[in-house]
Amino acid sequence: MSGAKEVKQHYEPGTHPDLPPPLGSTGPIKWIRENLFSSPTNIVLTILAAFFLYKIVPGMVAWTITDATFIAADRNECRALNSGACWAFIAQRWHLFTFGFYPEAERWRVVLAFILLCVVIVALLWENCPGRSLLVKFALIFPFIAAWLLLGGFGLEPVSTDKFGGFMLTVIIGVTGIALSLPLGILLALGRQSNLPIIKYACVGFIEFIRGVPLITLLFVASTMLSYFLPPGTNFNLLLRVLIMVTLFASAYMAEVIRGGLQAVPNGQIEAADAMGLKYWPAMRLIVLPQALKISIPGIVNTFIGLYKDSVLVIVIGLLDPLGIGQASLADTKWQGLSTEVYLFVAIFFFISCYAMARYSLYLERKLHTGH
């Protein structure tokens, strides 16, 4: 304040003009000082991180994009053209990765089913969607329409489920599992909280058993052993068996998440419902579950994401999800040794869909947060 300038110029009280803030305390310089160089430890961390990025990022960008080959006939041509990734492989087998071995002439059915699925999802998730009430009713019959479109029959060419594969299979397993495991999980959670000991211990036994073993063993059971437990001569579709196992697996985890929500609902709520003369099911449906489910949204979505990611495990019993397609394609001598490209491609697909789910859950949490 005692700079030479101020002394020279004289201002009447209250007439001093607003000076701009010092250069170091605004804009990018301030931001850099506060976020990157605020203390000696911070400076060291920044330098280390920058060095790390410098070592890693250029190589990765070069390999995946600038040095990569996008169009080639086989691996040798890729190698001859460029030193990076060989995406030509993915480009050439794009249809296989998307549809599996679904007959080419019938693929429009898969596309149509997928578009309808998107419509249903948008209607369910977006509250201000035009014509929502009609679309929600459509959501109830959608599973049957989708099954008809995918499997055929009734005027359409029948397609066997062992032709299903690729991302289509992932979406089928994920969506079915998600849609069925939530209601089943709610029932199991209510059963676990029940006052009736036999119901309670049956649920506890089921939940703890499922949670104690890896999904892969359950899938083995589905593929090799399940027919032993059915009446002699019966044998049903492998995809259906897998769907059942994946749903049961996810529902046990879902039950534990919802139990956490149920325990967080104050006892007074249930007592108040009792006092109003509500019976068990109305009390649960109208009072307890809306609160419990709201609390457990993050956990529920995490379980969904887990289920969706777990669907890749079906390759160990021979279903051809994108990973299975990729591994089968790698056996082709023309394309051998491109495993990194395949795995990265599938990883990016999963990242996009799971990240979207996680983001939506965050949005939902904020929207439903009615507390103070």
Binding site: T46, I199, F209, P214, V312, G337, A347
Partner: protein
């Protein structure tokens, strides 16, 4: 409710309905009825399944017995902790599998915990760059299936590491190749037992000393440098003893013979890939748990502690960490369970754990699906139970003691 009997007189029908509705509306009777029905259904379900299994197995002429465990396994396992060759029994193969599962689970738990805590702290760091790097890492890893991570790491290792002929040498005697990491194998001499005994004694001493120091601190407020004294007892003393006794350890070095290394100790790429991938994956989840735990300790606690003149490091040790651990431990234990269960994905890259030995090759060779799957599931249930019990015990120890 048989309508035939109620045709004669309407009053008795009404009475009967009345009884039924009275029974149904009585809470206790109804709960008994519901439970009996549930029990009968449950029994009927299991009886149906078991009967089917018996009939089906009989039709296949298989029977149900575990005697196959005593027959020779006829397959090789390249990564093993105990003696095993292809003439050993399935029982022995199972033991090898159990040890391999436990090895990768334990190593994974240790590495993922360390990485997870580092990432969790970085995620809270005020430094924008490290914070963002940790964030991107966590989001990428969490949203991609663990099986893909395993395959990716394995693929990169197998494709980018050199062949044994042009191995990367680590020091003079370690070799990193696409066949694995070859290291000298320690061959302990008799005096080594003294060092080992000293090491165990050091651990016991450190444990007792910690309890004593805590008691003294609670009573008098006097603080001992527990960490440094424990470190001295557990690490420094045994190392000193080792060299004073003239390093009683011989090393068998790996040597390049033909196309591969012979002798020494080898860690297969399958193990390394599985271990790293499981740890990287679980570390991302642990990082989020750690972050939530640290954020859950209100800032007022730290401020109060600093206001009392307690130093920063001791504020962290005595105020923040104990409170954060209460939030961290329960979800952490479920991550440990996940790592153990996810280790079953070893089968995808050919690491011989329980699922790959008894639930994989043994199952295919003997055709005993039922017995093998029972063993595998039973073992995983036992592991889960043991880890849960240990973590519950630890959780009880650190939980808030309310007076």
């Amino acid at each position: 409710m048989n309508s035939g009997t109620s045709v004669g007189s309407t009053s008795s029908a009404a009475q009967q309905r009345n009884i039924v509705s009275r029974i149904w509306n009585d809470k206790e009777t109804r709960s008994v009825i519901v439970q009996v029905v549930a029990l009968v259904l449950l029994f009927a379900f299991f009886a149906f399944m078991i009967r089917n299994a018996v009939v089906n197995l009989e039709a296949l002429g298989k029977g149900f017995s575990f005697s196959f465990l005593n027959t020779p396994a006829n397959y090789d396992i390249n990564q093993r902790l105990i003696e095993y060759d292809s003439r050993s029994t399935h029982w022995r193969a199972m033991q090898v599998g159990i040890l391999n599962t436990l090895l990768v689970a334990f190593a994974g738990i240790v590495l993922s915990t360390i990485l997870g805590f580092i990432l969790g702290v970085l995620r809270l760091s005020k430094n924008w760059l490290t914070n963002k790097i940790a964030h991107i890492y966590i989001e990428y890893v969490r949203n991609v299936p663990v099986l893909l991570h395993i395959l990716l790491v394995h693929g990169i290792m197998v494709h980018s590491l050199p062949r044994p002929k042009s191995a990367i040498t680590l020091g003079e005697t370690g070799f990193l190749t696409n066949r694995g990491l070859f290291m000298p194998k320690p061959l302990p001499e008799p005096l080594m037992w003294a060092v080992a005994a000293l090491f165990v004694a050091g651990i016991i001493f450190a444990f007792l000393f910690r309890r004593w120091a805590k008691k003294v601190q609670d009573e008098t407020g006097k603080v001992y440098p527990v960490f440094w004294i424990s470190l001295f007892a557990v690490i420094v003393l045994p190392v000193l003893a080792f060299f004073l006794l003239g390093a009683p350890m011989a090393w068998e070095n790996p040597e390049l013979k033909g196309f591969n290394f012979r002798g020494g100790m080898v860690i297969r790429p399958e193990f390394i890939a599985l271990w790293l991938a499981l740890s990287f994956y679980t570390a991302a989840f642990i990082a989020e748990i750690v972050r939530a735990g640290i954020l859950a300790v209100s800032h007022g606690q730290t401020e109060a502690s600093l206001a009392l003149g307690i130093s920063r490091s001791r504020t962290l040790n005595l105020v923040v960490i104990p409170q954060a651990l209460r939030v961290i431990v329960p979800p952490l234990s479920s991550q440990y369970l996940n790592i153990t269960k996810n280790s079953s994905l070893a089968i995808a890259i050919g690491y011989m754990d329980i699922t790959a030995t008894i639930g994989g090759i043994s199952l295919n060779q003997t055709g005993r699906e039922m017995e093998c799957m029972l063993i595998v599931m039973g073992l995983y249930l036992i592991f889960s139970l043991i880890i849960s019990m240990f973590m519950n015990w630890y959780n009880n120890r650190i939980r808030l003691v309310e007076r």
